[in-house]
Amino acid sequence: MNETVLLVDDDANLLHGLTRALRHQPFDLFTVRSAEEAMDVLKRRTIRVVVADEQMPGMSGGDLLAWVAEYFPETTRIVLTGHPTAEQAIRAINEGVVYRYFTKPCNPVDLAITIRRAFEEQDAAQPPQDPAAAT
């Protein structure tokens, strides 16, 4: 299965910067500048990790991740926010929609390690070979 990561942030410079930082990582990195675009991408192709900014014009990062949790529950959801708030933290914990919570500025190495661990965990949690048994 392809290792795909979707980075969502309304700031183009941030997307450029992170793309540069993560260019050697063994996963495919896609970037979009709004939650709405992200939803489009998710609907069209498999994305295994979503990294989203919290504050964006239009739909917020939190809402996006909640949507992802609902429709693509296997997709790991990571927050990268410029301004952490208690509200977001509470939501992350209580609703279990967020895998990791990063605040800007973060070290891209930490982010990369987290993404890779997410892939490993997804692989470890692969559903059993006989899907019929679950039904």
């Binding site: 450029h16 540069r20 964006m56």
Partner: protein, 940 residues
């Protein structure tokens, strides 16, 4: 305030004193002033207490002079020692009589007869000597006339010695004494004896009888009867005749019958008698005119003279009394024996107990009435013994007067005692600091004097549970009690009591006057206690007040309309000295000239509270808030009560609080701002790390290129080397680096620029500012505010600015103004989120309009509902959900713009179209003349 209603003690005393004196005077005028006698009373020191009009008139002194005179001063200096003794004697013996000369003011001397009586208290202690004096000039004139005639008569008698001679049976004189020689004009006895009796007689006696015959008959008769007395006309040797009385006595001498003749020349006697008659006439005239009764008795005790005054005094006419024994008629029966004995002794000796002095006796009028008289008796020598002249005076009037005077004096004494009681009580009441039980104790000891029998009186005062009584009160049976009240509340009673052993309990209790006095005292005692209690309360209130002032560090000044200090709290007085009755400017500005901006001088200060802030000259580091309240004193005077509270800490806190509020606002922006900063921080970091890695890659290529360059120099370029270089270039993806590095540098600089911009805007936005206004570029301030608030609006609104270039610097408090604009902008962004689309436009304009700058902030939100429009500037009014807004945003904006800058803040709103807030700020002045400006015209 302490309202004093009582009279000062002096005036009270003099008022009462005046009344008493007035009463006494009016009574005295009735009785005393009618008398021609001098009437007076003196005290122990001889001070004249009372006197009548006659005394003033006769002595010539004015009343006010007499008031300060000693009795002695009315007598000539040489008489004074005697007077002093007489007065002392009177005090000792209870009265005295003395004759003395009064020296009038003009130096005239008038003889007076004084009699005096002691006036005594009921306990027998004398307190005044009352005297009366009668003018003796008249009586003295009479007595001296009487004496004169007596002396003259006696001399005449003595000088007219009887002539004696002996007549022999031969009809010749046998002998003649020297008086006979002188009488008949003979030079010697021999010559006398040569004459015959007939030669000493004229031819005929008066009546025509022959002297010879008549003489013969008288001799015969004498011879027969032994003696014979007859009148005879004699003649002297020189032929002159004279009347004589002749006594012939038959005598036996040497056995022969002789005639002894005693001849008295009666012509002299007749002359004397005539003179006497004339004298008597004169005396009678005097005595008839005299005011005193004058009665003369002869040596046998029969009345020989009875003047008109005597008739009116005793009721007997002169002819009723002549020849009668006065003692039998005029002396009361029980005294008659003594009187007769005295008279009998007097008749022979001419002296007696009654002679030469003034005595007071009782006499009986014809109608049987007894009345007191004063009598003085002078002796008159008579042939047959001693006669007497008595001068009598009816003294019943004087006695009455004395009695009434005594009564009055007693009354006066009582009133003086009451008065002094009142006065002493007044002194007690005057002492403001005496506690009630002390006042009560002191007044209780004064009370017995307030009643007429102080010796037997006791008193008790009950005041709450304090009960004070003078010794013996419990033994009293007759009591007078009046309630003691404070205000309308009865708090006790004042009582006086008299002991029964006074022996006069039957007097029927106390007089209304005493009750009145007691009630008066009770009233004043009540008021004194009340005053003390009030004072104590006021004092305690004052203390509390001053403690409160001290504890709260509150200054308090009470000033009048002219800024004159009526009261200043102790702390102020300690710092600035006594300010009372000084101008308050001395305190506030250390000058007497008045304050530059006196808050009391403004018209509104006269009827409402005015609050100002200022520093005091001696406490420059403190800020005081002065609350000036106009008050009306109870007299209607306009006063100002100024409470000065040290608000230095308060002010410092306020400054801190404002700053905190600003920080709070900044904190609210933190989310947006953090995002604005952290996002560039993220990619600046990423890019920098990328650049570091990229450089490391490029460095490898550069190293290989260096080697190639060295080889090229030596001409030993190995194709493998070139291949290695190409491999390295491929390995590091040089093409990617060449494309990305310039971009990443560009983006990094951009990110750094973003961070710098927001940090600078933050710094400028929240600059704490100074106390003074500073001129700023308002457009820059608008831009800063937009940058800082970008996080709030960037996701919901597009911001359009239309800022007029070249606006003059605007004097303002930048931090406050920024805050105001921020609040309005944030509100605008919030308003837009409420629209359906959730997105809109915020337009910010600035423009100079005359002497002001207008700033408009317009949103495309839903508009403000009409029903809440009036409340949007109210404190704590918010339409946001709980936790979203404090309701302070527009309130703060309004305060800043209107209160602090003197500008205006208003808005236009239309439902569905949006709202426009317009801020107008004056470019100069404090903005009071600032007019509302029209909206900025669109520059499109």
């Amino acid at each position: 305030m302490n309202q004093k209603t009582k009279l000062p003690p002096d005036s009270l005393a003099s008022a009462l004193d005046g009344n008493i004196r007035g009463a006494a005077k009016s009574l005295a005028e009735m009785a005393v002033n009618a008398l021609p006698d001098l009437v007076y009373a003196v005290d122990l020191e001889g001070r004249v207490l009372f006197w009548n009009r006659a005394l003033a008139v006769r002595t010539g002194y004015r009343d006010e002079e007499i008031r300060s005179m000693n009795l002695e001063a009315f007598f000539p200096p040489e008489e004074r020692p005697r007077i002093r003794i007489a007065i002392a004697k009177a005090w000792q013996e209870g009265g005295a009589g003395v004759q003395a000369t009064i020296l009038t003011r003009t130096g005239e001397r008038i003889p007076y007869e004084f009699s005096s009586t002691l006036l005594r208290h009921s306990d027998g202690t004398p307190f005044a000597l009352c005297g009366a004096a009668r003018d003796l000039s008249e009586r003295m004139a009479f007595e001296s006339a009487l004496q004169e005639s007596e002396i003259r008569s006696r001399a005449l008698f003595e000088s007219s010695r009887d002539a004696m001679m002996v007549l022999g049976d031969d009809g010749r004189f046998g002998a003649g004494n020297s008086a006979a020689l002188t009488m008949f004009g003979c030079r010697s006895e021999e010559e006398f004896c040569r004459h015959r009796p007939s030669s000493f007689s004229p031819e005929r006696q008066p009546g025509g009888r022959s002297s010879k015959e008549a003489a013969q008959q008288h001799i015969v008769k004498a011879m027969e009867e032994g003696s014979h007395f007859f009148d005879w006309m004699h003649s002297r040797v020189d032929g002159s005749e004279f009347e004589a009385s002749v006594l012939l006595t038959r005598i036996e001498m040497e056995g022969k019958q002789h005639i002894h003749a005693t001849v008295r020349d009666v012509s002299v006697e007749r002359t004397i008698q005539a003179a006497l008659r004339a004298n008597e006439q004169k005396l009678r005239t005097i005595t008839e005119c005299a005011l005193d009764a004058i009665v003369m008795v002869d040596s046998t005790g029969k009345i020989v003279h009875w003047n008109a005054a005597a008739s009116s005094m005793f009721g007997y006419a002169s002819d009723e009394m002549m020849g009668k024994d006065p003692h039998k008629i005029l002396v009361p029966p029980e005294m008659r024996e003594t009187a007769h004995r005295g008279m009998a002794a007097f008749a022979t000796s001419g002296t007696g107990a009654a002679v030469g002095r003034v005595r007071e006796l009782t006499a009986i009028h014809k109608n049987g009435r007894r009345f007191p008289i004063e009598i003085s008796i002078s002796s008159v020598r008579e042939e047959s013994g001693w006669g007497a002249v008595a001068i009598l005076r009816d003294i019943s009037e004087r006695r009455q007067l004395e009695t009434s005077l005594q009564k009055q004096t007693a009354e006066l004494t009582a009133r003086v005692r009451e008065l002094s009681c009142l006065e002493r009580a007044s002194h007690v009441f005057e002492k403001n600091d005496l506690p009630p039980h002390e006042i009560v104790a002191q007044v209780a000891t004064l009370l017995p004097d307030a009643v007429s029998e102080p010796g037997n009186a006791c008193a008790r005062i009950v005041y709450h549970d304090c009960e004070i009584e003078t010794p013996g009160f419990s033994e009293t049976s007759l009591r007078l009690s009046v309630p003691l009240s404070i205000g309308n509340e009865q708090v006790g009673a004042i009582e006086v009591g008299c002991r029964d052993d006074a022996g006069e309990p039957s007097q029927g209790g106390f007089s209304p006057k005493e009750r009145q006095l007691l009630e008066d005292l009770s009233g004043r005692l009540g008021r004194a206690i009340e005053r003390y209690l009030n004072n104590a309360e006021i004092k305690s209130l004052n203390q509390k007040l001053e403690l409160i002032f001290a504890a709260t560090r509150t200054r308090f000044l009470l000033t009048d309309e002219d800024c004159v200090v009526r009261y200043a709290d102790p702390e102020t007085q300690r710092k600035y000295g006594s300010l009372t009755n000084q101008k308050c400017s001395r305190y506030l500005f250390l000058s007497q000239g008045g304050c530059p901006a006196c808050p009391q001088k403004t018209p509104e200060a006269r009827d409402r509270t005015v609050v100002t802030h200022f520093t005091l000259p001696l406490e420059q580091d403190r800020i005081f808030q002065r609350t000036s309240v106009p008050i009306r004193s109870h007299t209607g005077e306009l006063l100002f009560a100024a409470v000065l509270v040290d608000v230095t800490e308060h002010k410092a806190l306020e400054v801190k609080l404002n700053q905190a509020r600003k920080l709070e606002a900044v904190g609210e922006l933190a989310a947006g701002i953090a995002h604005e900063i952290n996002t560039p921080a993220q990619f600046v970091g990423d890019n920098t790390r990328f650049l570091r890695e990229g450089f490391q890659d490029l460095e490898q290529i550069l190293e290989k290129l260096d080697n190639l360059l060295e080889a090229a120099k030596t001409g030993t370029v190995d194709p493998a080397m070139v291949e290695r270089i190409r491999g390295a270039v491929e390995q590091v993806d040089a093409a990617y680096l060449r494309e990305e590095i310039p971009q990443s540098i560009e983006q990094t600089l951009e990110g750094i620029g973003q961070i710098g911009k927001i940090v600078r805007a933050m710094k400028e936005f929240s600059h704490p500012g100074s106390k003074e206004k500073q001129a700023i570029d308002i457009n820059r301030a608008i831009e800063n505010t937009l940058i800082v608030s970008r996080g709030e609006w960037k996701h919901v609104a597009e911001v359009v600015t239309d800022l007029e270039a070249g606006l003059p610097p605007l004097p303002c408090f930048p931090a406050d103004l920024n805050q105001a604009m921020l609040n309005i902008i944030v509100n605008a962004a919030h308003a837009i989120t409420e629209t359906e689309s959730g997105r809109g436009t915020i337009t910010v304009r600035s423009k100079q309009q005359n002497k002001a700058i207008a700033i408009e902030i317009e949103d495309t939100g839903p508009g403000i509902p009409e029903n809440i429009q009036p409340r949007i500037f109210d404190h704590f009014f918010t339409t946001k959900e709980v936790g979203k807004g404090t309701g302070q945003g527009l309130t703060i904006a309004h305060n800043v713009i209107v209160e602090k800058h003197g500008g205006t803040l208003d808005f236009e709103t239309e439902a569905g179209r949006g709202t426009m807030f317009r801020i107008c700020l004056p470019l100069e002045g404090n903005g009071t003349e600032f007019q509302k400006l029209p909206a900025i015209e669109s520059t499109d």
